[in-house]
């Protein structure tokens, strides 16, 4: 690697003039007027506007102080029941993001070769016409599936609408690197096994675990499994844990994380697990709970499918018809140990019957095990000693953790973090953790993690229109016959999309429309883009500022809004927190409006499918909004007030906490079967410990596969059954066998950044200018690495760098580094270094083995080697605070919205 030089080649001072060519990257500060930094001795004309942050997904309520149309101060709004007036570094720095001199201000068209970073300003009309014309041309010539659309969780997304957009332009190939790698496995597993999940799952960082925001919650202990709320949801989840720990009765915690995070430092037990082995520990816990009879036997009998007999031929639950018993093929069968005979289940359970939870019994000539028996067999080998050996843990500490989790006098819960969504065992770990909660009866009780509290009247996600796509198009969605779990989000499998882009297999993808902070920073093995993008005819990037993706890949840049320029309704517990645009700069446009404008332009230019997106009948769902006003109405949904009224209130309490906190909803009366409890949202209305729905998903695509013609759309089976129970597979690259790359790498959240965003914010970057690579002192000594030294980190995919932090806060044999990039290198001679120089995602894996259900690839738990580095390129990385001066805010005047409001 060579040292990138900062020539600012081709840099012209103004991007404001139409037709001028400019480079994007270091500082595009132009004719904007500099003003004094915000100060609090405010004049009387300061307006305080209630809105909400979107520097990360927590959406904390804030007060924006606005003077003469300019945002001068951000502080917390104490009315939010989640953040309670707290704001973290990311939110407080929102002004630096809003007025960043490098904002994408206008639509920009590439001039010259890709990667040379030369752009000219064009009008929105030109930009829309160009994109729409390309969409229509590609659709006519190759088929609309040859267009791929992507998004991501960072940088103020209008999340679900990218899917509506894809469906509107008739492509099934919409994707994002969250999904299979973040949140979907935990959500999907919960939908299958618990019958709820959107939300209602074990992800605390995705704003579940609502009971824990109330300090009167009877929770006494929590297991933080691969999650660090102090970093990932600072002012909401981090705050909630701080409140719970500081009650007089306190909160006992167990933290399972290779890092000694600040949450781990407050825990009673820290289990520094080897990355990639969570399933092994889950199985160990399951066995210990079964062997020590710590599970809630009565709950398991009545409310899980553990007593249900399983047909060994179909692997599905045995039905009355198969057992030769009176009943239908919808009736389940259990074993009556007293009568030694099979019995047909009368939901929820036959009066006075104590069905066997365990055992294998002969029924109608078949050896049928109960779900409980199959669970028991699945973890048979996982003694404490075996679990400790595989996970690199101390068996005594594992047992201490288990005693806290299963304390009969307490109420516990598991918060499961994103780590398990980042390697091939995603679904297995998600199902395994749910089963622990089911076994313990930790379901919808006061103080449990899993809850089904009352839904808010508004919508933050508008839902998409999957039935706009024909069967023909759905069948062409890349990678989803094998990995059907992704259909839960109507998305495509990233490595399969890339194969289509790179090799034309099974067909060539020609166009890519992308909206997110920097695909080079968040995708596994992201250097693969080098070989992919040259095969694409046209690439659009929509974002708030230029990234490596803009410079290296894009042909057209569309400027999106910061959160201070955006409107949204956000459910937070028993309230709705409003996000409202407090200003608008240049010609930025909110993402959701860009999508509908492109679709309208395509329709105007003759695309018949696009016209259907505005037709409720064709969508079989609420149609695409045409403008901001219609969008706001869809978000307000059942909230009976105008947008203005809602914004005026800022935080709207739509229910009292006691009305909102609805426990044990499965016991509520079933309207269709009066006198019977409603049960859970699974086919059996029971918690599926033996998750046969996972088998059915793999064989058919149900319950998630759908298209214009059919719902469910029955798909051909995956190459192998999806397994109904958790199992352990050693990571494909393993420290147990790898001699060349001896260390395991893990990633993990920092409190001042979100995904790939905010590395260009001066007050954040000076706190943490380059990524720390945590390494244990024993490993550091072995590989000759000193504290504070630059390090080469290499994997079988590539090489990058990090700055060593030699610390016992990381497990031996493991190194930790978070995703990072160097925006300062965008406008250098080698702009690719912006993403290569210190980005662990040039090391990660996007090749098989994938998770069977979701196609998850490996971002954590793979092998690297480290060595001291003195590479020249490292001298180009900005480290000193003063170097970030060019990025200090350049406040500018408020401008009119680009497109009509619509009312």
């Amino acid at each position: 690697m060579s040292r990138a030089t900062m020539t600012r080649r081709g840099f012209l001072k103004s991007t404001a003039a139409m037709g001028a060519v400019t480079a994007l990257g270091i500082s595009a500060a132009d004719s904007l007027t500099a003003v004094d930094p915000a100060h609090a001795d405010e004049a009387s004309d300061v307006k305080i506007i209630k809105t909400s942050c979107r520097a990360c997904i927590a959406s904390c309520a804030v007060l924006a102080h606005v003077r003469d149309g300019r945002v001068v101060k951000i502080e917390g709004n104490p009315e939010s029941p989640m953040s309670q007036g707290g704001v973290c570094a990311k939110g407080l720095a929102g002004i630096q993001a809003l007025y960043h001199p490098n904002r994408n201000k206008y639509p920009m068209r590439r001039v010259g070769e890709r990667g040379t970073n030369q752009w000219e300003r064009i009008s929105w009309e030109e930009a829309l016409t160009e994109v729409a014309t390309k969409i229509n041309e590609v659709s006519d010539k190759y088929g609309s599936e040859a267009i791929s659309v992507s998004t991501g969780g960072g940088g103020n997304p209008h999340f679900s609408n990218v899917k509506r957009f894809g469906e509107a332009i008739n492509t099934p190939n919409v994707w994002e690197p969250g999904c299979s790698q973040c949140y979907l496995p935990r959500m999907g597993a919960s939908l299958l096994a618990y019958g709820a999940g959107k939300p209602n799952n074990l992800s605390f960082a995705d704003s579940n675990g609502w009971d824990y925001y109330y300090t009167d919650s009877p929770v006494t202990s929590l297991v933080l499994w691969g999650t660090d709320p102090s970093n990932s949801s600072v002012a909401t989840g981090g705050r909630a844990l701080a409140e719970l720990r500081n009650r007089p009765e306190g909160l006992r915690t167990v933290v399972i994380d290779p890092r000694y995070t600040l949450d781990a430092a407050k825990a009673e037990v820290w289990l520094p697990i080897r990355p990639g082995t969570d399933a092994a520990l889950l199985l160990t816990w399951t066995k210990w709970i079964l062997d020590n009879e710590k599970f809630d036997e009565e709950f398991c009998r009545t409310w899980t499918n553990m007593p249900y007999l399983v047909n060994p031929e179909t692997r599905l639950t045995l039905k009355a018809t198969e057992a030769g018993l009176p009943g239908t093929d919808a009736d389940y069968v259990v074993w009556d140990s007293e009568k030694n005979a099979p019995v047909v289940v009368e939901f929820p359970m036959n009066e006075g019957l104590k069905p066997a939870l365990f055992g294998t019994y002969e029924v109608n000539g078949m050896q049928c095990s109960t779900g409980g028996q199959l669970l028991k067999e699945s973890c048979e080998e996982w003694t404490l000693e075996k679990g400790a050996e595989i996970c690199w843990l101390d068996p005594e500490q594992i047992e201490r953790a288990l005693e806290i989790y299963t304390d009969p006098n307490g109420q516990s819960g598991i918060m499961q973090g994103v780590c398990i969504d980042q390697y091939a065992q995603s679904q297995q770990c998600a199902l395994g953790a749910l089963n622990l909660e089911f076994l313990m009866g930790n379901v919808e009780k006061p103080g449990t993690m899993l809850q089904k509290f009352a839904p808010a009247p508004c919508k933050d996600q508008l839902g998409n229109t999957p039935r706009l796509l024909s069967k023909e198009k759905v069948m062409k969605r890349c990678g989803t016959i094998e990995h059907k779990g992704i259909l839960c989000w109507d998305m495509a499998h990233i490595p399969s999309v890339f194969k289509a882009m790179k090799d034309g297999d099974p067909y060539q993808i020609h166009m890519w429309i992308e909206r997110s902070g920097n695909k080079h920073v968040v995708l596994g093995n992201s250097s693969c883009l080098d070989e992919i993008v040259p095969n694409l005819d046209y690439v659009v990037h929509c974002f708030m500022y230029p990234t490596a993706f803009s410079v290296l890949c894009a042909d057209l840049l569309l400027p999106t809004t910061e959160w201070l320029e955006t409107n949204l309704t956000i459910p937070q517990l028993n309230t709705i927190v409003m996000r409202q645009a407090v200003t608008h700069l240049f010609e930025t446009v909110e993402e959701g409006i860009i999508w509908t404008q492109i679709v309208q332009k395509c329709a105007e230019l003759g695309n018949e499918h696009c016209a259907k997106a505005f037709d409720e009948e064709a969508c079989m769902a609420p149609p695409f909004y045409k403008n901001e006003h219609e969008k706001q109405l869809q978000h307000l949904n059942k909230l009976e007030m105008s947008w203005e009224e809602a914004c005026e209130k800022g935080v709207i309490e739509w229910a009292k906490p006691e009305e909102y906190r609805t426990y044990q909803t499965y016991l509520a009366d079933d309207k269709e079967n009066p006198g019977k409890p409603k049960g859970f949202g699974t086919p059996s209305k029971k918690l599926e410990v033996y998750c046969e729905s996972n088998i059915i998903l793999g064989r058919t695509g149900a319950p998630w596969s759908q298209c214009a013609e059919e719902k469910p759309l029955i798909l051909p089976p995956a190459s192998a059954d999806y397994e109904p129970l958790c199992y352990y597979v050693e990571p494909a690259e393993s420290p147990l066998t790898d001699t060349e790359y001896p260390l395991v790498l893990t990633e993990g959240r920092l409190p001042m950044y979100h995904h790939g965003t905010l590395r260009n914010i001066p007050y954040l970057r000076e706190i943490y200018p380059v990524p720390e690579m945590w390494i244990h002192p024993e490993d550091a000594e072995k590989y000759g690495i000193a504290d504070g030294q630059w390090v080469n980190i290499e994997s079988r995919r590539g090489k990058t760098h990090g700055k060593a932090r030699v610390t016992t806060a990381i497990a031996k044999g493991v190194v930790y580094q978070e995703r990072f990039w160097a925006p300062e290198l965008l406008d250098s001679d080698d702009p690719a270094q912006a993403y290569k120089v210190m980005n662990v995602n040039v090391l990660t894996k996007n090749d098989p083995p994938y998770n069977p259900e979701y196609g998850t690839y490996t971002l954590r738990g793979f092998q690297v080697k480290v060595s001291p580095s003195d590479d020249e390129i490292l001298k180009s990385v900005w480290i000193e605070p003063e170097q970030f001066q060019p990025w200090m805010p350049a406040p500018s005047e408020k401008t009119e919205d680009v497109f009509d409001y619509g009312a």
Partner: protein
């Protein structure tokens, strides 16, 4: 005289650096300077008995403030409310106060060529508002008020804890006012054994 100061409950603090940014945004503190600075202490000890915590620092409002006594011009002074402040008009930029401060919490203002530091956001507290770092603290870990007033936020928070859970930065006779609450949930309070060479790193050397 009042003893106004910041009190930090480390049992609550999540180490998010929000206080650093809140302070800089509020007071227009330059890049590279911090009136409010978060250190990470540890880990120290052997697994499973380890200690690690975030330690937010700021002017500790010492009773015997060395910065005030070494100042040759009276620029470093204690105001009528007992708050240690810098009168920038009088500051000649000798930096004695920066050398005298045992905690390195004074900053150098390059543009104005003078020393500066946490003012306890006097421009806000004089209007009955909270200092910016306290108002926005994401974990509700920061408190502001007069240690001598039993009804102040700081006194009420401290009253919840026993003596052994209340700490100060190492006192070399300067009697810092700022209190840190930290219980055995986190572990052992650590004294800093040497000033940091690199004020912008998380280095906080402690005795092992």
């Amino acid at each position: 005289m009042a003893r106004n100061c910041i009190v930090v409950n480390l049992d609550r603090c999540t180490g998010c650096f929000g206080c650093e940014v809140a302070c800089k945004m509020e007071n227009g503190v330059a890049l590279g300077e911090r009136w409010s600075k978060v250190f990470t202490v540890g880990p120290v000890g052997e697994y499973p008995d380890m200690t690690r915590y975030a330690l937010p620092t700021m002017c500790q409002q010492c009773e015997n403030a060395p910065c005030v006594s070494v100042c040759p011009t009276g620029a470093s002074y204690r105001d009528a409310n007992g708050v240690v402040l810098v009168d920038k008009e009088k500051c000649i930029g000798c930096k004695y106060c920066m050398m005298a401060c045992p905690y390195g919490v004074r900053s150098w203002n390059v543009a104005e060529k003078c020393a500066e530091k946490c003012t306890l956001c006097g421009h806000l507290t004089s209007q009955d508002k909270l200092p910016a770092c306290v108002k926005s603290c994401a974990a509700g870990a920061r408190f502001y008020g007069d240690l001598d007033d039993p009804n102040s936020d700081v006194s009420k928070e401290l009253a919840k804890y026993s003596e052994g859970d209340i700490h100060t930065l190492q006192d070399v006779g300067n009697a810092p006012a700022t209190r840190y609450i930290m219980t055995s949930m986190i572990g052992q309070w650590q004294d800093r054994i040497a000033p940091a060479d690199h004020p912008h790193t998380a280095a906080y050397p402690v005795a092992e």
